[in-house]
Protein backbone atom coordinates (compact mmCIF):
# COMPACT_ATOMS: atom_id res chain seq x y z
CA UNK A 1 0.00 0.00 0.00
CA UNK A 2 1.31 3.39 -0.98
CA UNK A 3 1.45 6.02 1.73
CA UNK A 4 -1.01 8.61 0.33
CA UNK A 5 0.57 11.47 2.24
CA UNK A 6 3.83 10.91 0.31
CA UNK A 7 2.22 11.24 -3.19
CA UNK A 8 2.76 14.53 -5.08
CA UNK A 9 0.00 17.13 -4.36
CA UNK A 10 -2.17 18.83 -7.00
CA UNK A 11 -3.56 15.69 -8.66
CA UNK A 12 -7.20 15.28 -7.60
CA UNK A 13 -8.54 11.78 -7.59
CA UNK A 14 -11.08 11.59 -10.46
CA UNK A 15 -12.24 8.10 -9.50
CA UNK A 16 -16.00 7.63 -9.92
CA UNK A 17 -16.67 10.84 -11.93
CA UNK A 18 -19.12 10.22 -14.82
CA UNK A 19 -17.79 10.33 -18.41
CA UNK A 20 -20.04 12.25 -20.86
CA UNK A 21 -20.99 10.51 -24.14
CA UNK A 22 -19.39 11.92 -27.30
CA UNK A 23 -21.71 13.17 -30.04
CA UNK A 24 -20.60 11.59 -33.30
CA UNK A 25 -21.83 14.31 -35.71
CA UNK A 26 -19.67 13.06 -38.58
CA UNK A 27 -20.91 9.49 -38.31
CA UNK A 28 -24.57 10.51 -38.23
CA UNK A 29 -24.16 12.71 -41.27
CA UNK A 30 -22.28 10.13 -43.32
CA UNK A 31 -24.85 7.46 -42.47
CA UNK A 32 -27.74 9.78 -43.34
CA UNK A 33 -26.31 10.71 -46.74
CA UNK A 34 -25.66 7.07 -47.61
CA UNK A 35 -29.19 5.99 -46.67
CA UNK A 36 -30.69 8.73 -48.83
CA UNK A 37 -28.51 7.76 -51.81
CA UNK A 38 -29.41 4.09 -51.43
CA UNK A 39 -33.11 5.00 -51.25
CA UNK A 40 -32.83 6.95 -54.50
CA UNK A 41 -31.10 4.00 -56.15
CA UNK A 42 -33.81 1.57 -55.08
CA UNK A 43 -36.50 4.00 -56.29
CA UNK A 44 -34.80 4.36 -59.64
CA UNK A 45 -34.76 0.61 -60.17
CA UNK A 46 -38.33 0.18 -58.96
CA UNK A 47 -39.51 2.82 -61.47
CA UNK A 48 -37.16 1.72 -64.25
CA UNK A 49 -38.25 -0.39 -67.20
CA UNK A 50 -37.84 -3.73 -65.47
CA UNK A 51 -40.64 -6.24 -65.53
CA UNK A 52 -40.11 -7.80 -62.07
CA UNK A 53 -42.79 -10.42 -62.70
CA UNK A 54 -40.61 -11.74 -65.55
CA UNK A 55 -37.71 -12.06 -63.14
CA UNK A 56 -39.91 -14.10 -60.81
CA UNK A 57 -41.24 -16.17 -63.68
CA UNK A 58 -37.82 -17.19 -65.00
CA UNK A 59 -36.10 -17.43 -61.63
CA UNK A 60 -36.98 -21.12 -61.35
CA UNK A 61 -37.30 -21.89 -65.06
CA UNK A 62 -36.07 -25.32 -66.08
CA UNK A 63 -33.28 -23.97 -68.31
CA UNK A 64 -32.01 -21.58 -65.61
CA UNK A 65 -31.97 -24.31 -62.93
CA UNK A 66 -30.15 -26.67 -65.27
CA UNK A 67 -27.74 -23.82 -65.99
CA UNK A 68 -26.91 -23.19 -62.34
CA UNK A 69 -26.40 -26.93 -61.79
CA UNK A 70 -24.00 -26.99 -64.75
CA UNK A 71 -22.23 -23.90 -63.37
CA UNK A 72 -21.72 -25.54 -59.98
CA UNK A 73 -20.72 -28.87 -61.49
CA UNK A 74 -18.10 -27.22 -63.70
CA UNK A 75 -16.83 -24.96 -60.90
CA UNK A 76 -16.41 -27.81 -58.40
CA UNK A 77 -14.79 -30.16 -60.91
CA UNK A 78 -12.44 -27.53 -62.38
CA UNK A 79 -11.50 -26.31 -58.90
CA UNK A 80 -10.78 -29.86 -57.74
CA UNK A 81 -8.55 -30.56 -60.75
CA UNK A 82 -7.00 -27.11 -60.32
CA UNK A 83 -6.07 -27.85 -56.70
CA UNK A 84 -4.63 -31.28 -57.56
CA UNK A 85 -2.62 -29.69 -60.36
CA UNK A 86 -1.65 -26.78 -58.10
CA UNK A 87 -0.28 -29.12 -55.40
CA UNK A 88 1.73 -31.10 -57.96
CA UNK A 89 3.15 -27.96 -59.57
CA UNK A 90 3.94 -26.39 -56.19
CA UNK A 91 5.86 -29.52 -55.12
CA UNK A 92 7.68 -29.53 -58.47
CA UNK A 93 8.69 -25.90 -57.96
CA UNK A 94 10.07 -26.65 -54.50
CA UNK A 95 12.00 -29.75 -55.60
CA UNK A 96 15.75 -29.78 -56.13
CA UNK A 97 15.44 -31.06 -59.71
CA UNK A 98 16.12 -28.08 -62.04
CA UNK A 99 14.07 -29.58 -64.89
CA UNK A 100 10.98 -29.98 -62.69
CA UNK A 101 11.44 -26.44 -61.36
CA UNK A 102 11.68 -24.96 -64.88
CA UNK A 103 8.72 -26.91 -66.24
CA UNK A 104 6.58 -25.85 -63.28
CA UNK A 105 7.65 -22.21 -63.62
CA UNK A 106 7.00 -22.32 -67.37
CA UNK A 107 3.51 -23.72 -66.85
CA UNK A 108 2.61 -21.00 -64.38
CA UNK A 109 4.06 -18.35 -66.69
CA UNK A 110 2.14 -19.57 -69.73
CA UNK A 111 -1.29 -19.97 -68.15
CA UNK A 112 -1.15 -16.86 -65.98
CA UNK A 113 0.19 -14.83 -68.86
CA UNK A 114 -2.66 -15.38 -71.35
CA UNK A 115 -6.34 -14.43 -71.01
CA UNK A 116 -8.57 -17.30 -69.93
CA UNK A 117 -11.08 -16.62 -72.71
CA UNK A 118 -8.26 -17.09 -75.24
CA UNK A 119 -7.29 -20.41 -73.63
CA UNK A 120 -10.93 -21.58 -73.76
CA UNK A 121 -11.24 -20.69 -77.44
CA UNK A 122 -7.94 -22.45 -78.13
CA UNK A 123 -9.00 -25.70 -76.48
CA UNK A 124 -12.40 -25.57 -78.16
CA UNK A 125 -10.78 -25.12 -81.58
CA UNK A 126 -7.92 -27.55 -81.04
CA UNK A 127 -9.29 -29.68 -83.90
CA UNK A 128 -7.86 -27.09 -86.29
CA UNK A 129 -4.36 -28.04 -85.08
CA UNK A 130 -4.81 -31.74 -84.38
CA UNK A 131 -7.67 -33.26 -86.41
CA UNK A 132 -7.24 -36.52 -84.53
CA UNK A 133 -6.01 -37.02 -80.97
CA UNK A 134 -5.17 -40.11 -78.98
CA UNK A 135 -2.37 -42.52 -78.22
CA UNK A 136 -0.85 -43.71 -81.55
CA UNK A 137 -1.48 -47.41 -82.13
CA UNK A 138 -3.74 -47.77 -79.12
CA UNK A 139 -6.67 -45.47 -79.50
CA UNK A 140 -7.52 -42.45 -81.61
CA UNK A 141 -10.52 -40.20 -82.12
CA UNK A 142 -11.58 -37.11 -84.01
CA UNK A 143 -10.80 -33.97 -82.06
CA UNK A 144 -14.18 -32.40 -82.89
CA UNK A 145 -15.93 -35.33 -81.18
CA UNK A 146 -13.71 -35.33 -78.12
CA UNK A 147 -13.40 -31.61 -77.54
CA UNK A 148 -17.01 -30.95 -76.54
CA UNK A 149 -17.84 -27.63 -74.87
CA UNK A 150 -17.75 -29.49 -71.53
CA UNK A 151 -14.29 -30.98 -72.08
CA UNK A 152 -12.86 -27.75 -73.49
CA UNK A 153 -14.26 -25.70 -70.60
CA UNK A 154 -13.04 -28.17 -67.98
CA UNK A 155 -9.58 -28.34 -69.53
CA UNK A 156 -9.27 -24.57 -69.89
CA UNK A 157 -10.62 -23.69 -66.46
CA UNK A 158 -8.67 -26.32 -64.51
CA UNK A 159 -5.35 -25.71 -66.27
CA UNK A 160 -5.72 -21.99 -65.67
CA UNK A 161 -6.78 -22.57 -62.06
CA UNK A 162 -3.84 -24.91 -61.48
CA UNK A 163 -1.42 -22.14 -62.38
CA UNK A 164 -2.90 -19.74 -59.81
CA UNK A 165 -3.45 -22.39 -57.15
CA UNK A 166 0.15 -23.61 -57.37
CA UNK A 167 1.36 -20.19 -56.24
CA UNK A 168 -1.10 -20.14 -53.34
CA UNK A 169 -0.05 -23.65 -52.25
CA UNK A 170 3.63 -22.82 -52.64
CA UNK A 171 3.21 -19.81 -50.35
CA UNK A 172 1.45 -22.07 -47.84
CA UNK A 173 4.22 -24.68 -47.89
CA UNK A 174 6.92 -22.02 -47.48
CA UNK A 175 5.06 -20.53 -44.52
CA UNK A 176 5.48 -23.75 -42.49
CA UNK A 177 8.39 -23.53 -40.06
CA UNK A 178 11.64 -25.23 -41.14
CA UNK A 179 11.75 -26.98 -37.75
CA UNK A 180 8.67 -28.98 -38.74
CA UNK A 181 10.65 -30.63 -41.56
CA UNK A 182 13.45 -31.41 -39.09
CA UNK A 183 11.03 -32.90 -36.57
CA UNK A 184 9.32 -35.02 -39.24
CA UNK A 185 12.69 -36.24 -40.55
CA UNK A 186 13.87 -36.98 -37.03
CA UNK A 187 11.05 -39.48 -36.47
CA UNK A 188 12.08 -41.17 -39.72
CA UNK A 189 9.43 -39.81 -42.07
CA UNK A 190 10.13 -39.77 -45.79
CA UNK A 191 9.87 -36.39 -47.51
CA UNK A 192 6.53 -37.18 -49.17
CA UNK A 193 4.99 -38.48 -45.97
CA UNK A 194 6.20 -35.42 -44.07
CA UNK A 195 4.61 -33.24 -46.75
CA UNK A 196 1.30 -35.08 -46.52
CA UNK A 197 1.06 -35.54 -42.75
CA UNK A 198 2.90 -32.54 -41.34
CA UNK A 199 3.49 -29.74 -43.85
CA UNK A 200 0.33 -29.63 -45.99
CA UNK A 201 -2.13 -29.74 -43.06
CA UNK A 202 -0.34 -26.71 -41.59
CA UNK A 203 -0.12 -25.00 -44.97
CA UNK A 204 -3.91 -25.38 -45.31
CA UNK A 205 -4.43 -22.74 -42.64
CA UNK A 206 -2.60 -20.18 -44.79
CA UNK A 207 -3.94 -21.51 -48.07
CA UNK A 208 -7.67 -21.70 -47.32
CA UNK A 209 -8.69 -18.01 -47.28
CA UNK A 210 -7.13 -17.28 -50.71
CA UNK A 211 -8.39 -20.62 -52.02
CA UNK A 212 -11.93 -19.72 -50.93
CA UNK A 213 -11.50 -16.50 -52.87
CA UNK A 214 -10.31 -18.45 -55.89
CA UNK A 215 -13.32 -20.76 -55.73
CA UNK A 216 -15.76 -17.86 -55.58
CA UNK A 217 -14.00 -16.32 -58.51
CA UNK A 218 -14.12 -19.69 -60.31
CA UNK A 219 -17.92 -19.89 -59.96
CA UNK A 220 -18.22 -16.57 -61.77
CA UNK A 221 -15.46 -17.35 -64.26
CA UNK A 222 -17.38 -20.39 -65.54
CA UNK A 223 -19.60 -17.80 -67.25
CA UNK A 224 -16.75 -17.32 -69.75
CA UNK A 225 -17.44 -20.88 -70.93
CA UNK A 226 -20.64 -19.52 -72.47
CA UNK A 227 -18.52 -18.32 -75.41
CA UNK A 228 -17.77 -21.95 -76.28
CA UNK A 229 -21.42 -22.98 -75.87
CA UNK A 230 -21.12 -24.65 -72.46
CA UNK A 231 -24.71 -24.49 -71.08
CA UNK A 232 -24.00 -22.79 -67.74
CA UNK A 233 -26.43 -20.33 -66.16
CA UNK A 234 -25.39 -17.20 -68.06
CA UNK A 235 -25.53 -19.11 -71.34
CA UNK A 236 -29.04 -20.30 -70.48
CA UNK A 237 -30.11 -16.76 -69.61
CA UNK A 238 -28.72 -15.50 -72.91
CA UNK A 239 -30.57 -18.18 -74.87
CA UNK A 240 -33.82 -17.16 -73.22
CA UNK A 241 -33.40 -13.43 -73.83
CA UNK A 242 -32.40 -14.03 -77.44
CA UNK A 243 -35.91 -15.51 -77.76
CA UNK A 244 -37.98 -13.11 -75.62
CA UNK A 245 -35.84 -9.93 -75.55
CA UNK A 246 -36.12 -9.62 -71.74
CA UNK A 247 -32.39 -8.92 -71.51
CA UNK A 248 -32.17 -7.10 -68.15
CA UNK A 249 -34.70 -9.34 -66.41
CA UNK A 250 -32.76 -12.49 -67.33
CA UNK A 251 -29.43 -10.94 -66.42
CA UNK A 252 -30.93 -10.14 -63.01
CA UNK A 253 -32.08 -13.77 -62.69
CA UNK A 254 -28.57 -15.04 -63.43
CA UNK A 255 -27.05 -12.41 -61.11
CA UNK A 256 -29.34 -13.42 -58.23
CA UNK A 257 -28.34 -17.06 -58.66
CA UNK A 258 -24.63 -16.21 -58.55
CA UNK A 259 -25.24 -14.19 -55.36
CA UNK A 260 -27.16 -17.04 -53.73
CA UNK A 261 -24.47 -19.62 -54.50
CA UNK A 262 -21.61 -17.38 -53.35
CA UNK A 263 -23.46 -16.43 -50.13
CA UNK A 264 -24.05 -20.10 -49.34
CA UNK A 265 -20.32 -20.78 -49.67
CA UNK A 266 -19.15 -18.28 -47.08
CA UNK A 267 -20.28 -20.26 -43.99
CA UNK A 268 -18.85 -23.41 -45.60
CA UNK A 269 -15.48 -21.73 -45.91
CA UNK A 270 -15.66 -20.64 -42.26
CA UNK A 271 -16.23 -24.23 -41.15
CA UNK A 272 -13.26 -25.44 -43.19
CA UNK A 273 -11.02 -22.70 -41.84
CA UNK A 274 -11.99 -23.57 -38.29
CA UNK A 275 -11.14 -27.22 -38.92
CA UNK A 276 -7.66 -26.46 -40.24
CA UNK A 277 -6.79 -23.87 -37.59
CA UNK A 278 -7.18 -26.44 -34.82
CA UNK A 279 -4.37 -26.31 -32.32
CA UNK A 280 -3.50 -22.68 -33.03
CA UNK A 281 -3.82 -20.01 -30.42
CA UNK A 282 -6.82 -18.03 -31.72
CA UNK A 283 -9.55 -20.38 -30.52
CA UNK A 284 -12.77 -19.42 -28.82
CA UNK A 285 -12.48 -20.51 -25.21
Amino acid sequence: MTDRSKLAPGYDDLHGKPVAKRLHWGRWMAAGILVILLGLLVRAFARGQIEWSVVGQFFTAQAILAGIVNTMFMAVLAMFLGIVLGIIVAIMRLSSNPVLVSVAAGYTWLFRGTPLILQLLLWFNIALVFPTIGIPGLWEGRAVDIMTPFVAALLGLSLNQGAYTSEVIRAGIISVDEGQHDAASAIGMSRMRALRRIVLPQAMKVVLPPLGNEFISMIKTTSLASVIQYPEVLHSAENIYFANSRVIELLIVAGLWYLIVVSALTPLQMLLERHFSRGTARRAK
Partner: protein, 256 residues
Protein backbone atom coordinates in the same frame (compact mmCIF):
# COMPACT_ATOMS: atom_id res chain seq x y z
CA UNK B 1 37.05 -57.65 -25.53
CA UNK B 2 36.27 -54.03 -26.21
CA UNK B 3 32.78 -52.53 -26.10
CA UNK B 4 31.51 -51.24 -29.44
CA UNK B 5 30.71 -47.53 -29.24
CA UNK B 6 27.10 -46.50 -29.86
CA UNK B 7 28.34 -43.60 -31.95
CA UNK B 8 31.73 -43.50 -33.65
CA UNK B 9 32.59 -40.21 -35.37
CA UNK B 10 35.77 -40.11 -37.47
CA UNK B 11 37.33 -37.05 -39.09
CA UNK B 12 34.09 -35.32 -39.96
CA UNK B 13 34.23 -32.08 -41.97
CA UNK B 14 31.28 -29.86 -42.77
CA UNK B 15 31.22 -26.47 -44.45
CA UNK B 16 28.33 -24.11 -45.07
CA UNK B 17 29.48 -22.09 -48.06
CA UNK B 18 32.91 -20.86 -47.02
CA UNK B 19 32.22 -21.35 -43.33
CA UNK B 20 33.93 -24.36 -41.76
CA UNK B 21 31.39 -25.65 -39.22
CA UNK B 22 33.14 -28.95 -38.45
CA UNK B 23 36.86 -29.48 -38.92
CA UNK B 24 38.13 -33.03 -38.52
CA UNK B 25 35.94 -34.05 -35.60
CA UNK B 26 36.40 -37.52 -34.09
CA UNK B 27 34.53 -38.82 -31.05
CA UNK B 28 33.21 -42.03 -29.48
CA UNK B 29 30.01 -42.22 -27.48
CA UNK B 30 29.76 -45.43 -25.47
CA UNK B 31 26.44 -47.24 -24.91
CA UNK B 32 24.52 -45.99 -21.87
CA UNK B 33 26.69 -42.91 -21.52
CA UNK B 34 25.72 -39.26 -21.52
CA UNK B 35 27.94 -36.96 -23.55
CA UNK B 36 27.47 -33.22 -23.12
CA UNK B 37 28.70 -30.93 -25.89
CA UNK B 38 29.53 -27.43 -24.70
CA UNK B 39 30.97 -24.39 -26.43
CA UNK B 40 30.09 -20.92 -27.70
CA UNK B 41 27.44 -20.53 -30.40
CA UNK B 42 29.00 -21.20 -33.79
CA UNK B 43 31.46 -23.69 -32.34
CA UNK B 44 29.91 -26.57 -34.31
CA UNK B 45 28.23 -28.53 -31.54
CA UNK B 46 24.73 -28.30 -33.04
CA UNK B 47 26.14 -29.09 -36.50
CA UNK B 48 27.76 -32.22 -35.06
CA UNK B 49 24.48 -33.31 -33.50
CA UNK B 50 22.55 -32.69 -36.74
CA UNK B 51 25.21 -34.65 -38.65
CA UNK B 52 24.66 -37.67 -36.40
CA UNK B 53 20.94 -37.50 -37.28
CA UNK B 54 21.75 -36.88 -40.98
CA UNK B 55 19.68 -33.70 -41.06
CA UNK B 56 22.39 -32.49 -43.40
CA UNK B 57 25.06 -34.46 -45.27
CA UNK B 58 28.68 -34.30 -44.09
CA UNK B 59 31.43 -33.32 -46.54
CA UNK B 60 34.08 -35.77 -45.38
CA UNK B 61 34.66 -38.38 -42.71
CA UNK B 62 32.23 -40.98 -41.44
CA UNK B 63 29.80 -41.66 -38.62
CA UNK B 64 28.74 -45.11 -37.41
CA UNK B 65 25.68 -45.74 -35.26
CA UNK B 66 25.83 -49.00 -33.34
CA UNK B 67 28.26 -50.33 -35.94
CA UNK B 68 26.20 -49.24 -38.98
CA UNK B 69 27.77 -46.68 -41.32
CA UNK B 70 25.42 -43.69 -41.69
CA UNK B 71 24.39 -42.28 -45.07
CA UNK B 72 26.73 -44.44 -47.15
CA UNK B 73 27.39 -48.05 -48.07
CA UNK B 74 30.77 -49.55 -48.76
CA UNK B 75 30.88 -51.48 -52.04
CA UNK B 76 34.38 -52.80 -52.74
CA UNK B 77 36.70 -49.83 -52.85
CA UNK B 78 33.87 -47.31 -53.24
CA UNK B 79 31.30 -45.62 -51.06
CA UNK B 80 27.76 -45.32 -52.36
CA UNK B 81 25.28 -42.76 -51.00
CA UNK B 82 22.17 -44.28 -49.48
CA UNK B 83 18.74 -43.39 -50.85
CA UNK B 84 16.43 -41.01 -48.96
CA UNK B 85 14.35 -44.00 -47.92
CA UNK B 86 17.35 -45.79 -46.39
CA UNK B 87 18.44 -42.61 -44.62
CA UNK B 88 14.91 -42.24 -43.21
CA UNK B 89 15.19 -45.84 -41.93
CA UNK B 90 18.55 -45.12 -40.26
CA UNK B 91 17.11 -42.01 -38.58
CA UNK B 92 14.52 -44.12 -36.79
CA UNK B 93 17.27 -45.44 -34.52
CA UNK B 94 17.88 -41.96 -33.12
CA UNK B 95 15.48 -39.64 -31.33
CA UNK B 96 16.02 -35.91 -31.48
CA UNK B 97 14.83 -33.07 -29.27
CA UNK B 98 15.05 -29.53 -30.61
CA UNK B 99 15.69 -26.17 -29.03
CA UNK B 100 12.32 -24.86 -30.19
CA UNK B 101 10.42 -28.11 -29.47
CA UNK B 102 9.03 -28.38 -33.05
CA UNK B 103 5.91 -30.18 -31.92
CA UNK B 104 3.31 -30.64 -34.66
CA UNK B 105 0.89 -27.81 -33.82
CA UNK B 106 -2.12 -29.38 -35.53
CA UNK B 107 -1.97 -32.49 -33.35
CA UNK B 108 -2.66 -32.99 -29.65
CA UNK B 109 0.11 -34.08 -27.29
CA UNK B 110 -0.78 -37.77 -27.56
CA UNK B 111 -1.19 -37.54 -31.36
CA UNK B 112 2.28 -36.01 -31.59
CA UNK B 113 3.69 -39.02 -29.76
CA UNK B 114 1.68 -41.57 -31.77
CA UNK B 115 2.49 -40.09 -35.18
CA UNK B 116 5.87 -41.79 -35.66
CA UNK B 117 5.00 -45.29 -34.41
CA UNK B 118 1.78 -45.38 -36.46
CA UNK B 119 2.83 -43.60 -39.67
CA UNK B 120 6.47 -44.65 -39.87
CA UNK B 121 6.59 -47.98 -38.09
CA UNK B 122 3.06 -48.98 -39.12
CA UNK B 123 2.15 -50.30 -35.69
CA UNK B 124 -1.46 -50.77 -34.51
CA UNK B 125 -3.06 -47.61 -33.05
CA UNK B 126 -4.44 -49.26 -29.92
CA UNK B 127 -1.05 -50.57 -28.79
CA UNK B 128 0.69 -47.29 -29.69
CA UNK B 129 -1.85 -45.21 -27.77
CA UNK B 130 -1.27 -47.24 -24.60
CA UNK B 131 2.49 -46.73 -24.95
CA UNK B 132 2.02 -43.02 -25.65
CA UNK B 133 -0.04 -42.63 -22.48
CA UNK B 134 2.71 -44.42 -20.51
CA UNK B 135 5.30 -42.08 -21.99
CA UNK B 136 3.20 -39.03 -21.10
CA UNK B 137 2.95 -40.33 -17.55
CA UNK B 138 6.72 -40.84 -17.52
CA UNK B 139 7.31 -37.16 -18.39
CA UNK B 140 4.63 -36.13 -15.88
CA UNK B 141 1.96 -35.04 -18.36
CA UNK B 142 -0.64 -37.81 -18.20
CA UNK B 143 -3.40 -35.20 -17.84
CA UNK B 144 -2.33 -33.22 -20.94
CA UNK B 145 -2.86 -35.95 -23.56
CA UNK B 146 -5.69 -34.09 -25.31
CA UNK B 147 -4.09 -30.65 -25.27
CA UNK B 148 -2.66 -28.95 -28.33
CA UNK B 149 0.93 -27.65 -28.09
CA UNK B 150 -0.33 -24.04 -28.05
CA UNK B 151 -2.13 -24.84 -24.81
CA UNK B 152 1.03 -26.09 -23.08
CA UNK B 153 3.90 -24.19 -21.46
CA UNK B 154 7.36 -24.35 -23.02
CA UNK B 155 8.54 -26.85 -20.44
CA UNK B 156 5.51 -29.05 -21.03
CA UNK B 157 5.97 -28.85 -24.80
CA UNK B 158 9.59 -29.92 -24.50
CA UNK B 159 8.63 -32.86 -22.29
CA UNK B 160 6.06 -33.94 -24.92
CA UNK B 161 8.83 -33.61 -27.53
CA UNK B 162 11.03 -35.94 -25.46
CA UNK B 163 8.17 -38.43 -25.21
CA UNK B 164 7.63 -38.17 -28.98
CA UNK B 165 11.27 -39.05 -29.61
CA UNK B 166 11.18 -41.93 -27.09
CA UNK B 167 8.08 -43.42 -28.74
CA UNK B 168 10.27 -44.59 -31.63
CA UNK B 169 12.30 -46.67 -29.13
CA UNK B 170 15.61 -45.12 -30.23
CA UNK B 171 19.07 -46.45 -29.39
CA UNK B 172 20.37 -42.92 -29.06
CA UNK B 173 18.80 -39.63 -27.97
CA UNK B 174 20.06 -36.31 -29.31
CA UNK B 175 19.24 -33.10 -27.46
CA UNK B 176 19.91 -29.78 -29.20
CA UNK B 177 19.94 -27.07 -26.49
CA UNK B 178 16.70 -28.45 -25.03
CA UNK B 179 16.35 -25.75 -22.38
CA UNK B 180 17.66 -22.66 -24.18
CA UNK B 181 14.21 -21.47 -25.34
CA UNK B 182 12.63 -21.92 -21.91
CA UNK B 183 11.79 -19.40 -19.20
CA UNK B 184 14.24 -19.94 -16.32
CA UNK B 185 11.61 -21.38 -13.97
CA UNK B 186 10.73 -24.10 -16.53
CA UNK B 187 14.28 -25.38 -17.13
CA UNK B 188 14.28 -27.67 -14.08
CA UNK B 189 11.32 -29.83 -15.10
CA UNK B 190 12.93 -30.64 -18.47
CA UNK B 191 16.34 -31.36 -16.97
CA UNK B 192 14.69 -33.66 -14.43
CA UNK B 193 13.11 -35.72 -17.22
CA UNK B 194 16.47 -35.91 -18.99
CA UNK B 195 18.21 -36.93 -15.79
CA UNK B 196 15.70 -39.73 -15.24
CA UNK B 197 16.26 -40.83 -18.84
CA UNK B 198 20.04 -40.91 -18.31
CA UNK B 199 19.60 -42.97 -15.17
CA UNK B 200 17.49 -45.50 -17.11
CA UNK B 201 20.56 -46.22 -19.25
CA UNK B 202 19.74 -44.27 -22.43
CA UNK B 203 22.71 -43.22 -24.56
CA UNK B 204 22.49 -39.45 -24.92
CA UNK B 205 24.29 -36.65 -26.72
CA UNK B 206 23.32 -33.29 -25.26
CA UNK B 207 24.24 -29.87 -26.60
CA UNK B 208 23.75 -27.59 -23.62
CA UNK B 209 24.72 -24.42 -21.80
CA UNK B 210 23.60 -25.92 -18.48
CA UNK B 211 27.00 -26.69 -16.97
CA UNK B 212 25.33 -27.78 -13.73
CA UNK B 213 23.46 -30.50 -15.64
CA UNK B 214 26.68 -31.51 -17.42
CA UNK B 215 28.56 -31.77 -14.15
CA UNK B 216 25.88 -33.87 -12.53
CA UNK B 217 24.69 -36.13 -15.34
CA UNK B 218 27.39 -36.34 -18.02
CA UNK B 219 29.88 -39.18 -18.27
CA UNK B 220 31.86 -37.19 -20.85
CA UNK B 221 32.03 -33.47 -21.50
CA UNK B 222 33.23 -32.26 -24.90
CA UNK B 223 34.28 -28.64 -25.32
CA UNK B 224 34.17 -27.43 -28.94
CA UNK B 225 35.51 -24.27 -30.53
CA UNK B 226 35.72 -23.23 -34.22
CA UNK B 227 34.49 -26.61 -35.45
CA UNK B 228 37.05 -28.67 -33.48
CA UNK B 229 37.00 -30.64 -30.29
CA UNK B 230 39.31 -28.75 -27.96
CA UNK B 231 38.94 -30.87 -24.87
CA UNK B 232 37.12 -34.06 -24.04
CA UNK B 233 36.97 -35.94 -20.75
CA UNK B 234 35.15 -36.58 -17.51
CA UNK B 235 33.14 -33.60 -16.19
CA UNK B 236 35.30 -33.43 -13.08
CA UNK B 237 38.29 -32.83 -15.32
CA UNK B 238 36.90 -30.67 -18.20
CA UNK B 239 34.62 -28.51 -16.07
CA UNK B 240 36.57 -28.30 -12.82
CA UNK B 241 40.16 -28.52 -14.00
CA UNK B 242 40.35 -27.75 -17.73
CA UNK B 243 43.71 -28.31 -19.39
CA UNK B 244 43.16 -25.87 -22.23
CA UNK B 245 43.20 -22.10 -21.90
CA UNK B 246 40.17 -21.75 -24.24
CA UNK B 247 38.08 -24.17 -22.16
CA UNK B 248 38.96 -22.29 -18.98
CA UNK B 249 37.95 -18.96 -20.57
CA UNK B 250 34.64 -20.34 -21.82
CA UNK B 251 33.70 -21.91 -18.50
CA UNK B 252 34.54 -18.80 -16.52
CA UNK B 253 32.39 -16.70 -18.90
CA UNK B 254 29.39 -19.04 -18.64
CA UNK B 255 29.61 -19.27 -14.86
CA UNK B 256 29.88 -15.49 -14.43
Amino acid sequence: MTIRPMVAIRNVDKTFGSYQALDGVSLDVMPGEVTCLIGASGSGKTTLLRSVNQLHPIDAGAIWLDGELLGKRQVGQHLHLLSDREIARQRRATGMVFQRFNLFPHMTAVQNIMEGPIQVQGRPAREVRAEAMDLLARVGLADKAGNYPSELSGGQQQRVAIARALAMKPKLMLFDEPTSALDPELVGEVLAVMQELARSGMTMMVVTHELGFAREVADTVVYMDAGRIVECGAPTQVLADPREERTRNFISKVLK
